[in-house]
Amino acid sequence: MGRAHTLRDIAIGCLVVAVLAAIPWMLPGKAFQDFVIRCASMALFATSLNLLVGYTGLSSFGHGLFYGLGTYSFALLMQKTTVSLPLAFLLTLLISAATAVVVGAICIRLRLIYFAFVTLAMQMLAHSVIISWVGLTGGDQGLQGGIPRRVVAGIDLGNQYNLYVFSAAMLVIGLLLMRHIVATTFGTSLRMIRDNETRAAFLGISVWRVKLTVFVLAAVFASAGGMVMSLFVSGAYPELINWPISGDAIFAIVMGGVGSFLGPTVGTMILLLLNDVVTRQTEYYGLALGIIILLFALGLRRGVLDFVTERLGGRPAGGIH
């Protein structure tokens, strides 16, 4: 990717944050802010999963492990130690990266369905540990007591608006970094591995190393999303590390478009909007969501953004058809 494009992406990113920061001045209701905070968390998670699914062809069913690990490590560091918020943030990224190295080293040697199942098993293992280790994690009741010391450089993230701008900035920074990753030669290697692993190996790419690297990177971005969620719910709960959360990310990717960089972000918006609108109307949330997903899968046969891009005559960036 050219320098000019990078600069343009950064400029657009800054503009988005500025627009989002300005919206509450015109729209005093706090619900939009809540939506953006949740969206930022989930979109970081879904986009990081798409680095694996869409760009590398690694269908991880257990990516929620790192999202949940982000919420728990961050909340525990804030509660049980005296480290500052930025340090807890960095430590959480490190913990997630270290965990991803171990988990990745085991999983990425496997292919296709075996990879999917082992990642899922890893997440179930992590969930069981969280549930059983009551003394540390509070077990199935979650980590209670809130998140203390939320003031960073004079800015209190306990304040709704500040958390909102922080989350929006996190999302934009995360997306810019991930976009940079897929636009580099490393990103090209990912797509090459996805399209033909054997050929990539013959061309001199260390497939194992590239896969492990992207697995760790994706884990780091997922845990950043987890930390935003941890700040939003003021704690950590086993549901955030349980396997259905990985399913939510996969839904987001499927609905938004696996082939477009912003697909998972759009998918997240749709998923959350559906959740919010449907739960307001009916107690049969699962039924409504199931029907809508079926419509996407059988009707559009691709995510919204992939569909729109193709209609406009373009080709999805990920190149998946």
Binding site: M1, G2, H5, D9, I12, L15, V16, V19, L20, I23, L27, P28, G29, K30, A31, F32, Q33, D34, F35, I131, V134, G138, G139, D140, Q141, G142, Q144, G145, G146, G158, Q160, M229, F232, V233, S234, G235, Y237, E239, L240, S260, F261, L262, T265, V266, M269, L273, D276, T279, R280, E283, Y284, Y285, G286, L305, V308, T309, L312, G314, R315, A317
Partner: protein
């Protein structure tokens, strides 16, 4: 590189589009009360029977002219039992729907999430279903504008321990077994029960402990394990569907004739009526029974509940949620405002008339924002209505004394 401006603008454009549903709504006249619970899935009874207790109270208040001259408009919302959804829904109820007060009818995990949101929002909130003691006992978790209108785990454990120790002494029961659901609630409740049982009767020996999974369909393994250990008494923290399945299957093995059984959650009508052949002689706490307290007020409330809810039975959650609504009513009336701080100040230490107390009054204790003086007692099951007889009320003096000791031991005071 291809031109991708079209795709990039999506993010910017969508930000604008998404903003449209949230155009600020002018505050209308009614007092909106946000009521969240689990209305779907296997524990939907939590939400529906809570609503069954709340709605008649709201109808009564509205028919009498409302609260501070304003009608009450309830906004019911399903959290699906997920804590992060509970947190979101609580924020949404206040931030989007303009609710001035929250009546949180969530199960414990959701209630703890709502508690943190209330800490941020500063609105009046009454938790009407979470019985986990730490929610109000632990000063770290306490929130200035949040209260709890339910029975509490530690109160139940004290009364259960005292009653069971008395029965154990009379019948010379020293070999005990336990059988409780395998998660924090089941393990905590069992440990607490045994702690207080041993306090009153130190010569207890626990010979077998089983931890069936939540929603386990087949209890054969557990039942045979208990029978093999040959205990004289069995304690179980199972509840709702799991409990009725356990009783039905235990009947097949004549479990209930082989030992004295103590089940705190037995005394709730949905369980009592779901069991095919209710074995006589089970010791049970009265969670909600129309005969305890045996007063005209309670009988009238029971009749009115069934009439208002298509002849359904009220649950323990129904009286707890009805109590939450009555406290909200009293606090807002006393304070003359719905403002979180003012209403909370009025609610602290407030005593109201209640059908759910042997003294006819319940109090919201000021020091830890939790309910006291409610009906709490243990009795013995019989196969026909009223299902539980000979209910002995717990001694609140003893409860306070041991609760204080328990709080000290846990570093809460």
């Amino acid at each position: 590189m291809r031109d991708r401006v079209g795709r990039r603008t999506v993010l910017v454009a969508s930000a604008g589009l998404l903003a449209t549903p949230w155009i600020a709504r002018a505050q209308s006249n009614p007092i909106k009360i946000g009521i969240q619970s689990i209305f779907s899935g296997p524990i939907a009874l939590l939400g529906t029977s809570s609503r069954g207790g709340i709605q008649p109270e709201i109808d009564r208040i509205n028919a009498a002219g409302g609260l501070l001259g304003r009608q009450i408009q309830p906004v019911y919302r399903d959290s699906k039992g997920q804590p992060q959804e509970a947190a979101r829904v609580a924020r949404e109820l206040v931030n989007t729907d303009g609710c001035e007060i929250l009546l949180d009818a969530e199960a414990s995990s959701g209630a703890f999430a709502v508690q943190e949101v209330v800490r941020d929002l500063g609105v009046l909130c009454v938790h009407s279903n979470s019985e986990t003691s730490s929610l109000t006992a632990d000063p770290k978790l306490r929130v200035a504008t949040a209260f709890r209108s339910t029975r509490q785990g530690v109160h139940d454990a004290i009364v259960g321990g005292a009653h069971s120790a008395k029965v154990a002494t009379e019948k010379k029961l020293s070999r005990w077994a336990t059988c409780s659901p395998d998660y924090a609630f089941g393990r905590d409740t069992t440990a607490q029960f045994l702690e207080f049982l041993k306090h009153f009767k130190p010569d207890i020996e626990v010979v077998s402990q089983s931890w069936p999974k939540l929603g386990q369909p087949d209890f054969t393994e557990v039942i045979t394990k208990i029978l093999q250990a040959r205990p004289q008494a069995l304690y179980s923290a199972l509840y709702a569907g799991d409990l009725s399945a356990f009783i039905n299957q235990g009947n097949v093995y004549a479990l209930f004739g082989a030992m004295q059984v103590f089940v705190p959650a037995m005394g709730d009508l949905p369980v009592l009526t779901a069991v095919k052949n209710l074995p006589p002689g089970i010791q049970s706490a009265a969670r909600y029974l129309p005969t305890f307290p045996d007063t005209p007020a309670n009988a009238a409330w029971y009749a009115q509940y069934r009439k208002a809810n298509g002849n359904d039975y009220p649950t323990n959650w129904s009286w707890e949620s009805a109590t939450a609504m009555r406290f909200i009513e009293a606090a807002v009336t006393t304070a003359g405002a719905t403002d979180g701080k003012k209403a909370a100040a009025a609610l602290e230490g407030l005593t109201i008339d209640s059908p759910f107390s042997t003294t006819g009054k319940v109090t919201m204790r000021a020091e830890d924002h939790t309910l006291i003086d409610y009906a709490i007692g243990w009795g013995t099951t019989v196969p026909q209505p009223p299902f539980v007889t000979g209910i002995e009320p717990g001694d609140w003096g003893q409860i306070f004394e041991l609760e204080t000791e328990w709080k000290k031991k846990n570093g809460y005071i």
